[in-house]
Subunit: 409 residues, 2 copies
C-alpha cells in the first residue's frame, strides 16, 4: 500500500516535474481528463492575444504573408510529425478528426479501387464508425461498412477490404492495438490501414513510419493541449500522397491556389490534403500545446504515464469495492488512461467532479481517468483516489443532484 | 467631381458612423479588403481571452456544459440566420465553406437521386468548383461536374441537373445573381440550388426564405468579421433537413452523441449537419463579429455600400487612365466591392498597400476593393483614390520590389 508521502517522493524524483509549471491549472482541481480536453498551457493566452491584436488587428489581410499564416497547417504538421514517428511533409494540421477520417477513407478507396468493404471494430469511437457510414451511404451501395468485434478483425481481413480503420488507443478502455503487427497483417492482404491516434498522439511514442503506416488521423485538443475544438491532423505516408486525388479538394489543396483556375490541380505532397482556409486562432493555440511536447522526452512521458495508471489501479483496488477494472491491467497494453465500471458510475463521477477530481463518464457505466504526465503527478493520483474513497464512504454520490444529466458527459 | 470636404460631409451625416469605433483598425491604414479578411472588432480580444483563460483554463472539460460550448454552432447559426433571411434552426456554424459546400452537394444528390450533373459557372470562386470536382471523382463517373458561362446557365438547367451551385456575389467582379429568379427557374425543373453567400452575408440584405432557397453556405471571416479562418456556416431549408442523411456524419450530428452508439442516427433538424467537435476559439471570435452586425440596419449597410462603390468608381474614372471597370456600374447589380483591371495590377496594388491603402489583387489583372460600411467611410474612399493617383503619377509602382510575388495575393 502506497502512502501520500510515497507518492510525493515519486513526484520529487520525477524528471518531468518541471513541465507542470507550463500549464495554468486551477489549484482546486485534480485534472484527470486531459484525454478529453487537455489543460491550458500558460503560453497560449498571450500567443492567441498576439495573433488577434497584433497579427489580425494590425497586419490584417497582409498577415497571411507577414505572419506566415499560410504555412501554419504544414509547419504545425511537421511539428506533430515529430511526435508520431512521421517525416516532415507527411502530416497536415487542420479541420476535425471526423473530416480527416473521411479524407483518409476516400484515399484508401482510390488505392484499392476494386474493393468494397471498409472495416472497423464495434465499440470504436463513434465518429470513426459514423464517417464510414456516411461514405457508404454516399456510394449508393458500392461501399459497405463492416464492424466486427476486436477478436474477429483478423478473420475479417479479406481481399475485398478497401480500408481498415482502427483507433490505436481505445477511447473507453484504453486498450492498445499492436500497430506494427496489425498494419503488417492488413497490408499483406493489400489493405491500407488508417490509425486514429486521438488517444495516442502526445501520450506515448508512436512510430508510424517504423510500422510502415499508410494513413493516420488525430485530435489536437486531447494530449496535444490545443484547446477546445483545436484543429486535428492527417498523416499520409509519402508513398501514397501523389497517388491520391483528394476528394475534399478545397482551394488550398490546389497546386497554385492564387491562380484561381477553374480546374483543380492537386498540389504535390501533403499540401493537397488541405481543403478550406485554416483556422488561424485554433492553429496558434495548438502550436503552443505541441511546442511543450516537443521539449519533453516521449519515453519519459510513457514511463510516467504507466506508473500513474498502475498507482491508480492499485489504490482503487486496495481501498474500494464495486469498481471493476475495464482497462488492461498490464501497463504495456493500455494507453494513458484507466477505466473502471461501476453501476452508479454517472452519479459517482459527478460527485467526484464536485469535489474537484475531474475525470469523465462514458455510457453505460464507465468512469474514465486520464493521466497526463506533463501536468499530473503521483500525489494527484493518490489524492484523487482518497477523495473517491471519501465520496463512496460518505454516500454523497447518492444525492439526487448528481443524477441530473448534462448535455456533455 | 467630389472633394475631400464633400466626402467628410457625407461621413458626418452617415447613420452608421458610430460603428467605426467598434473596430480596432490601425490609424495608418485605409482598409478596403474586408471582403477578404474582415477587420478586428474591439470586443474580440477580450472575449477570446476570456474563453482561453477563464472558460478553458478554469472550467476545463466542464465548460462544454458550464459555458455552453456545446450549443455554440447552433446559437451562432441562429444569429447568422437573422442576417441572411433564414429562420432559427436553419443555419449551423462550423467548418470551412469548402466542407459545407460538400455537405450541401451531397444533400442535393439525395434529393435528386436519379440525376447526374452538378452545375456551376466558369470563373466561380475556385473552391466551389473544386469541391464539385472532388465529389465527381469520388462517384467514379456517376456524377459529372459541368461549368458553363454565366449567360449559358439557363440553357444548362435540364432535368439531369442534381444541383446548381452559384456564388451570389461574384468574388472577382462583385456581380450579383438574382437569387429569387434563378432559384425559381432551377426549382421549376426540380433542381435544388446552393447559394454561396461568402461575399454577401453581412454585406447586404439576403432573403433566403423569401427566395425559397434550398441550401446556402458562407464564410465567417469576410463581412462577418470572425477572424482568419473563422468557422463558416451552412443553411438547409427546414423542408429538406429531415430528408437528408448527412454524408459527413460526424458524432456531433448524432441524435444522442453521448450514447456512443455504433450506429449513426441523425439528429433532428439542422443539428444533423454538425460533424466534428466545434472550434470554440473561432466560434467565440465569430460571435463578436456577428453581434456587431446584428446591431446594424442591413438596409443602411446596403445603401452606404452602394454609395461608397459609386464614389470610388467616379473618382477613379475622373482622375485616372488605364483602369477598366470590371464590376457592374449599376450599384444594384453589384455586391460591396469594385474591381478595376490594369495590366500592371499586381505591382500597383503592392505599391498601394505600401502606402497604407489595402485592397487585393486577383489574377490575372484585377485590383479589387471592398467597401465595408461599418468601418469604411467616404473620406477613406476619396483618400484611397487620391493615394492611388499619386502612386500612378509618381511611377513608384514600377519599382522592382512591387513585382515580388507573395504566397498569398
Amino acid at each position: 500500500m502506497t502512502t501520500l508521502d510515497d507518492a510525493r517522493r515519486l513526484d520529487t524524483a520525477d524528471p518531468l516535474a518541471g513541465f507542470r509549471e507550463r500549464f495554468a491549472l486551477p489549484d482546486s482541481v485534480i485534472y484527470l481528463d486531459g484525454n478529453s480536453l487537455g489543460a491550458l498551457p500558460k503560453a497560449t493566452s498571450g500567443r492567441v492575444e498576439a495573433v488577434v491584436q497584433s497579427e489580425w488587428g494590425e497586419d490584417l489581410i497582409r498577415a497571411w504573408n507577414t505572419r506566415d499564416w499560410i504555412s501554419a497547417p504544414k509547419r504545425l504538421g511537421d511539428k506533430i510529425a515529430r511526435l508520431i514517428g512521421a517525416a516532415p511533409g507527411e502530416v497536415i494540421a487542420g479541420e476535425s478528426t471526423s473530416v480527416n477520417i473521411f479524407k483518409a477513407l476516400c484515399a484508401c478507396l482510390q488505392l484499392t479501387p476494386e474493393r468494397s468493404v471498409i472495416l472497423s471494430e464495434t465499440g470504436n469511437f463513434p465518429t470513426d464508425a459514423y464517417m464510414m457510414e456516411g461514405l457508404a451511404a454516399l456510394s449508393g451501395g458500392r461501399i459497405r461498412q463492416v464492424l466486427v468485434e476486436r477478436d474477429a478483425i483478423d478473420a475479417a481481413l479479406t481481399d475485398d477490404v478497401a480500408a481498415l480503420l482502427l483507433t490505436h488507443t481505445h477511447y473507453k478502455s484504453g486498450q492498445l492495438h499492436d500497430m506494427k503487427a496489425v498494419t503488417a497483417r492488413a497490408q499483406a492482404l493489400g489493405i491500407p490501414v488508417i490509425w486514429d491516434l486521438s488517444h495516442s498522439a502526445g501520450a506515448m511514442p508512436v512510430a508510424l513510419n517504423d510500422c510502415e503506416a499508410d494513413f493516420a488521423v488525430g485530435c489536437g485538443y486531447k494530449y496535444l493541449n490545443g484547446g477546445p475544438g483545436a484543429p486535428a491532423f492527417l498523416f499520409v505516408a509519402k508513398r501514397h500522397q501523389d497517388r491520391v486525388f483528394p476528394v475534399l479538394s478545397g482551394w488550398l489543396g490546389h497546386a497554385r491556389p492564387f491562380d484561381f483556375d477553374d480546374r483543380y490541380e492537386p498540389a504535390a505532397g501533403i499540401d493537397r490534403f488541405q481543403c478550406g482556409t485554416p483556422a488561424i486562432l485554433g492553429m496558434a493555440a495548438l502550436e503552443c500545446g505541441v511546442d511543450i511536447l516537443l521539449d519533453a522526452d516521449m519515453q519519459e512521458i510513457r514511463i510516467k504515464s504507466q506508473a500513474l495508471g498502475d498507482l491508480f489501479i492499485e489504490q482503487v483496488e486496495d481501498r474500494l469495492d464495486g469498481f471493476e477494472l475495464r482497462s488492461p491491467r498490464a501497463a504495456g497494453e493500455r494507453g494513458s488512461q484507466v477505466s473502471f465500471a461501476h453501476e452508479h458510475g454517472y452519479a459517482i463521477m459527478q460527485a467526484l467532479i464536485e469535489r474537484g477530481v475531474i475525470g469523465d463518464f462514458r455510457a453505460p457505466d464507465i468512469l474514465r481517468f486520464g493521466f497526463t504526465p506533463l501536468y499530473a503527478g503521483y500525489a494527484d493520483v493518490w489524492t484523487a483516489v482518497d477523495i473517491l474513497a471519501d465520496v463512496m464512504q460518505s454516500g454523497v454520490w447518492q444525492d439526487a443532484r448528481f443524477n441530473i444529466r448534462s448535455a456533455v458527459t
